[in-house]
Amino acid sequence: MLPSLPEAVRRYLAEAADNIINPAYFRLDKNNRIMLCGGDLSQCGVQWVDITKPIDEQVDFLFGLLPNHDAPVVIRNAQTKREQFVDLHLFLDGGKQWVLLCNNTKAALQLQLEQQNRLNIDFINEKRIGYR
């Protein structure tokens, strides 16, 4: 966290991270095997993991995304199970791969409501002016 932020803001953000986004994380070796994991895995769509196997062979939504040798990758609102939305962050630190999962369900459901209303209007407009 940025050291220039006041302590109260940092504390607030840390609490928000714990209480709102229920983060979970994996540190992986070059073969995508788990070196370290923790956080609220079940809130991020991961029920259990076998540390002897590559993570992308066990967690469907990570298949195809690893290994990550590039700049950080962010995939917003992956629906890992019904009405559970998770933001996926893939990044490198000290040559090690990290996967950070943040539960984003509350914001995603709100966004869905707004998007639904907007697209319903778009639909009506498309019909009114003709599809061409």
Binding site: D60, F61, F63, G64, L65, V73, V74, I75, R76, N77, A78, Q79, T80, F85, A108, L111, Q112, Q115, Q116, R118, L119, D122, F123, E126, Y131, R132
Partner: protein, 173 residues
């Protein structure tokens, strides 16, 4: 078993989610519910003598306010490009998405999916955009998530495309 990530791409409300729900759960709903982000499913598909597992990414549709983020295409082996021929604008969107795939992950095999064949009487019949897409697609298939026409077939054809692509890649190396 061989496993591949595939995406469904297309404009909003062309029926991407309905196609996946019909394929995976054999259900269809008349109610349109917009997709946020991506819904991920998994199903085994036969391709000739082979069977492969498709990890299916049903990505939110393009609309006038948002385009598809390239990150969703990461690791994708092929894709279904879905259009609704009652809405010619969906062809423009499909063309833009095909170009975005090429720029992001390189050209990948795709099946052009003409969905809502149950509304075929309302389809456009002549389109330069359509002909251009058909010319570069691995195959074109007509589907209806509503009446379950062509749904299994489109995934099987894509699986064939992935097997052909894998064979070509191994021959090249």
């Amino acid at each position: 078993m061989l496993q591949k990530k595939v995406c469904l791409l297309g404009s909003y409300a062309v029926g991407k989610t309905s196609l996946v729900r019909q394929f995976v759960d054999s259900i269809f709903s008349e109610t349109y519910k917009t997709t946020i982000g991506v819904m991920i499913d998994k199903k085994n598909v036969k391709s000739g003598d082979n069977e492969l597992t498709l990890v299916i990414w049903d990505v939110y549709g393009e609309d006038s306010h948002q385009s598809v983020a390239p990150a969703y295409m990461r690791g994708m082996a092929g894709y279904l490009l879905v259009v609704d021929l009652t809405r010619p604008n969906t062809l423009k969107s499909a063309d833009a998405l095909m170009k975005l795939v090429g720029k992001t992950v390189g050209d990948k095999p795709f099946v052009l999916v003409k969905n809502k064949v149950d509304l075929k009487d309302d389809w456009i019949t002549e389109s330069e955009d359509l002909r251009a897409l058909e010319a570069v697609a691995f195959a074109t298939i007509e589907t209806s998530a509503k009446t379950d026409i062509g749904v299994d077939a489109m995934f099987e054809v894509l699986a064939n495309a992935l097997c052909v692509d894998a064979r070509l890649s191994s021959d090249a190396t």
